[in-house]
Point group: C2
Chain length 428, copies 2
């Protein structure tokens, strides 16, 4: 029996450093748990001389990534570089070399998941990716295993800490998006180029991964309708609050008769919803199953140590599997083929804020257009009466998105309507 | 390769019926997931003619429990009777007959866990018990596996729905315990004999199980200091609210230098704590790990279908393991031996409500006793000034429980003190 499981790590940034530190802090615990020592053999970095978050012996570092993925001594390759290239080729090579792989790379899995899982299966090795969604929050394996008895009805989460921090700041301080973003950048919660976070792409990759597991059917990132938070204004947050709602960047996936409804967008949710209280950089994933009802998983969705918790958890599981001789069993569960619905087909309630001429008869004109397009209005409130222009805030009943869009196109062409300033979907 | 996994179920009450119904509703999904059919061979019941929550063919029922645990055709025995006897003997017999076991029986595991896990290990079979804590909420396996990288600092949960419902009612409606209990009984949330729930024994069994996993050291039910919610009065809830706290029945386990601190009692927690918002029959378990930080698992902690979600999840995992030929690997992880601290040694803050003579000098007398016993007071508020007697409400700083108890014994013997009406521990 093996006495030691050798791992090689690709990348020593925030998560790599966290992983190094966690793996080294409880070595003797892991020996008891696994039945063998887990040893870091090599860590691939871009530069040997860069200042690091952790103290790592020089002898462990290499700039030669192939010396890890091709190393016959290494059992598990831990990919923590992120991005598609060169991570994809390195992971595929490692799998072909019969190495198990642990990765936190949501972008890669959400785009090339099938190829990667197929390659793992073909080579009878495992790929673990608990850290790819929700940082340290256990969600991938619970959804795959502990909730396996359920037909999943809905997965709905706050899976991006940066945007949740920004929206929390905006709500608490009444600030504008740009201001809250600067604060987030100053605190290190947002990157210099915040696009992947604030435009929703990071969340889209994550919900593609969760949807694939929840509905047993592969969903890729570009099938996810994605809208970021740049358009949210303090008024929207204020009007939402008046109606006992909060605005969160929600990633959601549900199954309908017509297929899977998978999307990321700012969403108004009632303050009573468990996700409404999830603030700052915290993440939470809410799952509804036909047996379990509603469950929620909450925690830190990012950061070196929390994410390392998931990475090292995966390493321990794989190491235990190697010792027990039961590898190659963490199979892909996408055994169904389901359509992803085009966004025009989705059904939702909508919050609409529009600037209109403040005079009699305007509401009647707008209401007629909604009626003609089968959009039923739940409530309408006028804000800022007395000037030339006023805000009209509508909440629609459940309606097909393409009907709403058709109605808005006509409404925006009315003389009395200056502009529709925001459209935010509402979830129960 | 096996084409079918045969299971036998012991018990057809709420959870048994839920399990039967869930197992039958998604049969074809489970075949895809497991690679074989999961078939219910027999269900043991007390009476063949009782009216059931589900329609079950008569041919499946038997009153002969041994015909299940001794049946060579059965691969997995699912024990859903509850209680120590005869569940214990039946599970041990099943394990000795090389059958895997799934159980929801927290009482049994919290008292005879060691014997049961040892027997499973000896016979190279698995025992799964996800349903024993938190109903359908995934917590056992996430704590054992996904969070394995962490040294656990604290586990703190609302793990009993009945008491949480009662405390929620008391808080929302200002009602007394007895009244809220009657309501809970009328709604079917509390049993006719509510002792196990309201006196904290159910929660104590659950935290014993969680502590054993979290700290890798066996904790049994009678090592858990246990206090129920009968003494909570509307005033306590009101005074807590004045200080931005709520009162919950909290089960907690932490590790200190002196050992494990494991207990169940009514606890004042700040309204900002994630557990404070967990109301009605919902459960939530909050885990703090040195890498992951704080994570929380939330959902329905009881009920037929939610609990069946966990039971059937376990069955699917075991069935998959049998098909993959990798059974007997869900090992007991109690590889440490840690002391459980006596309650006198624990450190906590305390809320104290006492009835005293409403005249000058009383507070000075009481304060001197606290000072003599090394109990430091954080705040004191007098409620109901102007009569003969007034309420004094103290919040202490962190102090050793035995010092607090010594101080209270002296204080209660003072002429000016009519009575200490309640002592409630405060957690941050």
């Amino acid at each position: 029996m093996k006495k030691q499981i050798n791992i090689g790590i690709l990348g020593l940034g925030t998560i790599g450093s966290g992983t190094y530190s966690v793996l080294n802090s409880h070595k003797s615990d892991y020996v008891k748990r696994v039945g063998a020592k887990i040893a870091i053999k090599k860590i691939a970095v871009k530069s040997l001389n860069k200042k690091r978050l952790v103290k790592v012996p020089k002898s462990l570092l290499t700039t030669d990534v192939l010396s890890i993925v091709n190393n016959p001594e290494i059992d598990v390759v831990v990919e923590l570089m992120g991005g598609i290239n060169p991570a994809k080729d390195l992971i595929l090579k490692a799998l072909k070399n019969k190495k198990h792989v642990v990765t936190a790379n949501k972008e890669l899995l959400a785009n090339y998941g099938k190829q990667i899982f197929d390659t793992a299966a073909k080579n009878d090795v495992d790929i673990y990716f608990e850290a790819s969604v929700g940082g340290g929050i256990p969600i991938i394996r619970p959804l795959k295993r502990e909730l396996a008895a359920n037909r999943i009805i809905k997965v709905m989460g706050i899976v991006n800490g940066t945007t949740n921090y920004i929206l929390t700041k905006m709500a608490d301080e009444g600030s504008f998006f740009e201001q809250a973003l600067s604060e987030a950048q100053a605190k290190g919660y947002a990157e210099a180029n915040p696009k992947a976070d604030v435009d929703g792409y990071d969340a889209a990759a994550k919900i593609a991964i969760l949807a694939s597991i929840a509905f047993n059917s592969r969903v890729v990132a570009n099938q996810v309708f994605t809208e970021g938070i740049r358009a949210i204004k303090p008024q929207d947050i204020e009007y939402a609050r008046d109606m006992n709602h909060v605005i969160k960047l929600i990633a959601l996936a549900k199954e309908n008769k017509e297929g899977l409804d998978v999307r990321v967008h700012p969403t108004m949710i009632p303050v009573s919803h468990p996700l409404a209280a999830v603030s700052d950089v915290y993440n939470a994933i809410f799952v509804e199953g036909d047996a379990v009802g509603e469950v929620m998983f909450f925690g830190q969705g990012a950061g070196g140590k929390p994410t390392a918790s998931a990475v090292v958890g995966d390493i321990i599981d794989i190491a235990g599997n190697i010792i027990d001789g039961r590898t190659g069993k963490m199979k892909c569960t996408c055994y169904n083929k389901k359509q992803v619905m085009p966004v025009g087909q989705i059904i939702s309630s909508y919050y609409l804020r529009m600037k209109v001429a403040d005079k009699p008869g305007v509401l009647a004109k707008i209401a007629r257009v909604f009626g003609d397009k089968q959009v039923s209005i739940g409530s309408v409130i006028q804000k800022g009466h007395g000037g030339k222009l006023a805000d009209l805030v509508f909440i629609t009943h459940q309606t097909k998105e393409k009907n709403l869009r058709a109605a808005l196109m006509l409404i925006n062409s009315l003389d009395e309507v200056s502009k529709t300033n925001n459209v935010i979907r509402v979830e129960g």
